[in-house]
């Protein structure tokens, strides 16, 4: 049955074809973010194992993963994908490993890792692949994509929704993802005050008018702490079989000199400093052409001092919000409560079982003939939390769980000593408030009370 999918091309193709994809380029976006393929879960019946398409398997799947995370490498190889060039004996085509687009994204990810921005926008986000990679970072709290192609935003939006697992183990901090339909040369106040704005393979799609307005909007108006701009390096093009622009929609492709001149002027005018680098290292012998993709990283000189000006800007909403989603996080009381109660009950149950076992062992000591069960852990299987010395000391110094008849009581102070719970809630009073309607507390509210024995306790002799 047909998976209803959007047009797409061979995912692992050469950079050449990849960049040649965006046929219907619009003014300011990159319609197809050259070659990065949306991995669509096919809409067909009952895929339980899930993985139906050829890439993007979630598990660490033997022999199936592409990029080794290493740096740019490339290989000369015989052209294959899709067929044969006429009357040319197997031709040499440059392939990058990992593919160039992935290297560009990796570059952005490394930046995010290093600088931990809170608010990130991707201009010309296309099919939102970069956003999808960025949403996993705990530091990011607002993630925005802007593109001129509304259809694309519509059809890719739901890929940015939280994973199912994120409802069970939520993030620490809030995250909102929003996709706007609009042009990067329009001013929208909702993009003010960002820490990082990325323009990956964007500027070469701008005609000269838009290119002229681009710095004034992005650098002058939006004025984020950091801007990343990537664009093809024209000096690399002779290494490709046919020497034209890499994409039919490219209005220009700059040499390193051209890009650096433009970038330095922009940086100067708007009080940024810029560093140049790139991804896609040239093959041996051609090092002089430089990276296949050139990248400028702009950082604001004044740092964060300029921020107060943000609030003075009048609200200006010209973009149309196409999609927005909020992630569950521990900052939301309801979520925190849910996670805290969950973790707490796991800990309580562990302590209860440990206590039970202790009682069993005591019994056995008194009655030697009943013995025979071996509880000493085998050394090769050490599951569960391993505490640091400091944590151990904190746990040991906290009040101990105790029994009152058939009831087992665990002081909240004790529970707070466990790192997993401490991380969620450090204060006893707050903990009491959060858990009060979900668990049974002792009359003075200082301890959690549970039955020492459950009818469903699993006992080894049951089998």
């Amino acid at each position: 049955m047909a998976g209803l999918r959007t047009p797409s091309e061979d995912p692992e193709g050469a950079e050449r074809r990849r960049d040649a994809q965006g046929q219907r380029a619009a003014r300011c976006g990159r319609p197809a973010r050259c070659g990065e393929q949306r991995v669509e879960q096919r809409g067909c019946a009952g895929v339980r194992g899930g993985a139906s398409s050829s890439t993007g398997l979630g598990g660490a799947l033997s022999q199936r993963f592409a990029f080794p995370g290493g740096n740019a490498s490339y290989c000369w190889c015989n052209s294959v994908a899709g067929g044969n060039f006429e009357d040319v004996t197997p031709e040499k085509v440059i392939r990058f490993n990992p593919p160039l687009y992935k290297q560009r994204y990796q570059f952005v990810r490394d930046l995010v890792d290093r600088h931990e921005p809170k608010k990130v926008a991707d201009l010309g986000c296309g099919d939102t692949k970069l956003l999808k990679l960025l949403k996993i970072y705990p530091c990011i709290q607002l993630l925005v994509g802007v593109d001129i192609n509304e259809e694309k935003l519509h059809s890719n939006g739901h890929y940015l929704s939280p994973y199912l697992g994120e409802f069970v183990k939520p993030r620490d901090r809030d995250l909102t993802v929003t996709l706007y339909h609009g042009s990067v040369v329009e001013r929208d106040s909702r993009l003010l005050g960002f820490d990082l704005i990325t323009c990956i393979e964007l500027i070469e799609h701008l005609d000269s008018d838009d290119l002229a307005r681009f710095p004034e909007v992005v650098f002058g108006y939006l004025s984020p702490a950091m801007i990343v701009i990537s664009t093809p390096n024209a000096e690399f093009n002779p290494l490709f079989p046919t020497v034209t622009l890499r994409d039919a929609d490219h209005k220009f492709e700059w040499s390193r000199m051209e890009f650096q001149t433009w970038a330095s002027q922009v940086a100067d005018r708007y009080n940024y400093h810029v560093e140049f680098t790139g991804v896609g290292t040239p093959p041996a012998g051609s090092e002089h052409v430089g990276y296949c993709t050139q990248i400028g990283v702009f950082r604001k000189n004044s740092g964060k001092l300029a921020e107060p000006s943000v609030s003075q800007q009048p609200d200006q909403h010209v973009y149309k919000a196409v999609y927005t989603t909020s992630y569950p996080s521990l900052q939301q009381e309801k979520v925190l409560k849910f996670v805290l109660v969950g973790e707490l009950l796991i800990q309580v149950d562990r302590l209860r079982l440990r206590h039970q076992r202790m009682l069993r062992e005591q019994e056995k000591e008194q009655d030697p003939k009943a013995g025979g069960m071996d509880f000493s852990p085998a050394p090769h299987l050490l599951l569960g939390a391993v505490f640091t010395e400091a944590e151990k000391a904190r746990i040991e110094n906290s009040p101990k769980p105790f029994c009152e008849g058939e009831k087992f009581c665990i002081p909240l102070q004790r529970l707070l000593a466990y790192p997993k719970l401490h991380r969620l809630c450090a204060d006893e009073e707050r903990m009491r408030c959060l858990i009060a309607d979900s668990v049974c507390l002792s009359s003075d509210g200082s301890a959690v009370v549970v039955d020492l024995h459950n009818s469903w306790d699993y006992r080894p002799e049951d089998n």
Binding site: S8, Q41, F65, P68, V168, F338, P377, L381
Partner: protein
Amino acid sequence: MSGRARVRARGSTPGHGARAVGNAPGDITVSVFLSLSHVYEVGISSGDGGHTFKETQGKDRQDFIDLGVCTREKLAHVKDCKTGSSGIPVRLVTNLFSLDLPQDWQLYQYHATYSPELASRRLRIALLYNHSILLDKAKAFDGTSLFLSEKLDQKVTELTCETQRGETIKITLTLTSELLSNSPVCIQFFSVIFRKIFKKLNMYQIGRNFYKPSEPVEIPQHKLSLWPGFAISVSYFESRLLFNADVSYKVLRNETVLEFMTDLCFRTGMSGFTEACQKQLVGLVVLTRYNNKTYRIDDIDWSVKPTHAFQKRGGSVVTYVDYYKQQYDITLSDLNQPVLVSLLKRKRTDHAEPQMVHLIPELCFLTGLTSQATSDFHLMKAVAEATRLSPMGRQQQLARLVDDMQRNQVARLELETWGLHFGSQISLNGRVVPSEKILLQDYTCQPASAADWSKDMRACKVLSSQPLNRWLIVCCNRAEDLMEAFLSCLRRVGSGMGFSVGYPKIIKVDETPAAFLRAIQLHVDPDVQLVMCILPSNQKNYYDSIKKYLSADCPVPSQCVLTRTLNKQGMMMSVATKIAMQMTCKLGGELWAVEIPLKSLMVVGIAICRDALNRDVAVVGFVASINSRITRWFSRCVLQKSAADIADCLKVCMTGALNKWYKSNHDLPARIVAYRYGVGDGQLKAVLEYEVPQLLSSVTECGSDARTSRLSLVVVRKRCLLRFFTETGRAVRNPPLGTVVDSEATRPEWYDFYLVNQLATRGTVSPIHYNVIYDDNALKPDHMQRLTFKLCHLYYNWPGIVSVPAPCQYAHKLTFLVAQSIHKEPSLELANNLFYL
């Protein structure tokens, strides 16, 4: 077979982590995840064990296969009309919605070929989609088959297009079929469209259903979250295409597999730990934290740790720890955990070797419930309470869904493109069949409510009973006083019912399962009529060892009672009444009857389930009535080694039942109506082709020229998405007991009907689907429906109506006991008693 052995047997090449595991013992417990789209039958449970009912749900969409089994065309008497007419008409609202299509709507299927041939499916799709001829058309293409809602001008269309590299590609589209909206392909196609729409509504697909994790129902004390959602299907009902949606909940455990394992380790100790893990986890479905995929756990590989390296596709080698850090920014905290092994089913190329995936327990969440959890009464009760929705609540959820669908622009557009119009909720006419009178020994009562006539029959004598004179009570010292109190109560209640209970021999034992068994072995002799055990706890091994011994090794009826049950304040009388009734049946007594106008009718119930310890064994229960009043039963249970849930012992069982009938009636029954319970999706054809002939051949061989019994087989299905409500003003309620639906919501290719015979005070009732697949009796639909309704009154374990015909419920109870506790065929000496109640 261990999980690993099974992995190998399926022909996979284990990849990097494939070192032989020295020892991975333990049976595979296949416990399929649970979808709670139905009301739990918590009400009906025996005094004995307190096991709760568990139902599993198949995963593959196989109902289409069943719909292809056109049984009605062979049944001459219902070919033109299968509807009944008796009863009071009732207007019912359903959870069906019309899907309107233009009158002449068709779907056109084209086959696409490329010249030169293109290996990449993506490239093929891209080229075709970008071609101007298809630009504004509604289309769906999987790389080979193209579906269009508008026909192209020519039967064969040749297109030329150019790749980015200037190659010229010729695409030939050949019309292969014009599909009407009721064709199976078309219906599957609609399902795909709806799946797409549900994703747009921010719902997540898990299995076949769609869920909203953003609005969870939480049960913290059991570490569970329930995600609300919908089970949906699009299919062709009696006269038109309908969309069916029912509220469904997905159970999710709020702990990772690692936490689960650690917990298990605390419980079991180290000695049986790996075995217990294997047993509890294999077969469960996990959800990974870093994507939306679910995997079935096929094995646990204890030899691989997160610090081990694996080879990625590019050829580079990376450890799991580094991989998850790089790829997902996730830091693994436990470097000693093993990995879970899952085999991926390949859909496209079935012959390919299954792919093996390693999953890190710390990053996986358990969905569904483990077998341990489903046997936890408190947990199941909490789940049932959280998911129980009144008809009103259900209707509100449906209204919200429809509203969402109509408001969502993208969803609306998707339907419009294909010419589909999502219409109104369907109402239809049902009928309420008259209620039944309950016949007791010297009294006939018209119960106030058919759901429970225990009050109506208070102080009434049951139809017949055997006096109980020689019997044993085994109990532990602690429970002695309680037992005495209970005994006197039992004797008092018994005499009221006309069931004479003599004074038993009392044996006091230690509080261990072994002591109970030893006492029974010591004191049970052929004279003993019944053994009662007062159990100190509901630990399964007490019950299992007793039942096993007394059902198979030394066949004597037995009655287990929990001390806890007797301890309930003020409940002694009702507990004693219930137990007295069970004991009467176990000794071969009859409790009550209903009027059966057909004389010489045998009813049969057949149920199949899997043995809990050995999933390769199917347990077949066969229960047949042996008198015209339908109050006495012949029960057999056969274990068979087979992969499919299709019985192959029916001939033996049927012949046994016919002989028994002949012995007590000196003739053969004129009619036999058999109800088959537990038919999975996609198995209808097998039932028709393998089970019906077995029954027929027995009937023919036993019969003579003068008299051969006529046979009907009805497939009973409990699990269906369909719901009916009655509307009063603005409120909707459950339909009354005895509501029959035999039009509109039924299928044109079947002789089928729905019957509502459940009463739910808080939840929504689910109608039971009856499909008459073979019918020599040619009873009028009216009669078939009323007979079925009458039979629901005859389950002696509950003084009220049950949701399926009594023979089915008996057969189910029998298979459940054998599959869970006995694991052997019970002795034939017990076949005349309802020993398994």
